[in-house]
């Protein structure tokens, strides 16, 4: 399933990062980070290009030899990046979309916790569990 799930704040700094395997960690960080370029471009492109590209799900941002990077942005300028193994061809676009949906819901729940200060690192146990389930694909 996914090898990296990251929630990125309004200011493009990570609020939460889950990485599948430890040794790849930094590399995945780089992927997620560079993905922001594409996200920004896509978001700003909305205004220019006609047609309805307003979906929160931004689709495949780019693919490297071994990974695929998908993006999603909320109306509140929060970005989600999910990185999957390029080898994993079984994954449908729709499944990815659903993963993002779930991630988004979990994130909103975190924000709705009156004790969470928006913009801070996400430390919620609930969220952790949620992401765990998400990447486990159930």
């Amino acid at each position: 399933m996914a090898v990296c799930v990251s929630v990125i704040g309004k200011e493009n700094s990570p609020l939460y990062i889950w990485v599948g395997n430890g040794k790849e960690e930094l590399h995945l960080h780089y992927l997620a980070h560079t993905a922001l370029d594409v996200i920004q471009e896509k978001v700003s492109a909305v205004n220019k290009t006609p047609g309805d590209t307003r979906e929160l799900y931004l689709g495949l941002l780019y693919a490297s030899e071994e990974y695929k990077v998908f993006g999603y942005t909320t109306n509140t300028r929060i970005k989600f990046v999910i990185i999957t193994d390029a080898a994993n061809t079984t994954l449908r676009d729709n499944e990815i979309r659903m993963m993002f949906r779930r991630l988004h819901n979990m994130y909103t729940n975190v924000v709705c916790n009156p004790f969470y200060v928006p913009g801070e690192q996400i430390t919620s146990r609930e969220f952790d569990k949620g992401v765990g389930a998400l990447v486990a694909g159930n």
């Binding site: 709705c112 916790n113 009156p114 609930e126």
Partner: protein, 181 residues
């Protein structure tokens, strides 16, 4: 453009959330104002009481509930009220042999839906406001209190049920109890 999808999500639920969120910010504010958590608990209960006072009128107006003769009726009405106002129906149970004590158990606590209590105020009884609400709506001198440990378990998000237990009902005033026209 998926404006419609917005509408799609249940307005009942939404305004429930609105209430929940507002309550959340209120609690947060209280925590900021009082350094002592127990004060917050007290304040919450007080607010609950005030709300109860207003709510009872509203309740009488809306669901014109019949007169009730004993504590069991009272319990039913409480159940009814929760259903109406919080959209959740608690289960009434664990009656004391004396029949003067029972528990209102919320399977899901809309108030605490998103709450994860920070470690520094675990002693906070987040939903204490409910404890405050119940006495006035049941015109009985009843002492509704929420056992601490239950709260912990609830608020650390392990269990989403509130248990408003051991409503000790001091003396029989049922005839001039709640909801008498």
């Amino acid at each position: 453009m998926s404006r419609q999808s917005m509408r799609s999500n249940d307005p009942k639920k939404v305004s429930g959330e609105l209430f929940t969120l507002t309550y959340g910010s209120l609690v947060a504010q209280l925590l900021k104002d009082y350094e002592n958590v127990d004060d917050v608990n007290r304040q919450l209960e007080r607010m609950g009481y005030n709300i109860g006072m207003r709510l009872i009128e509203d309740f009488l107006a809306r669901a014109n509930p019949g007169r009730c003769y004993d504590l069991r009726d009272t319990a039913d009405k409480i159940q009814q009220a929760f259903k109406l106002y919080l959209g959740v129906s608690p289960s009434i149970g664990s009656w004391s042999p004396g029949g003067d004590e029972f528990s209102v158990v919320l399977e899901t606590n809309p108030l605490a839906e998103f709450v994860e209590l920070p470690d520094h105020c675990l002693s906070l009884r987040y939903s204490n406001i409910l404890a405050g609400v119940i006495p006035p709506i049941s015109h009985l001198r009843i002492l509704a209190h929420l056992p601490r440990e239950r709260w912990k378990s609830l608020l650390t998000g392990l269990r989403k049920d509130i248990e408003c237990s051991s409503i000790v009902y001091s003396h029989l005033e049922v005839e001039k109890g709640m909801f008498n026209e």
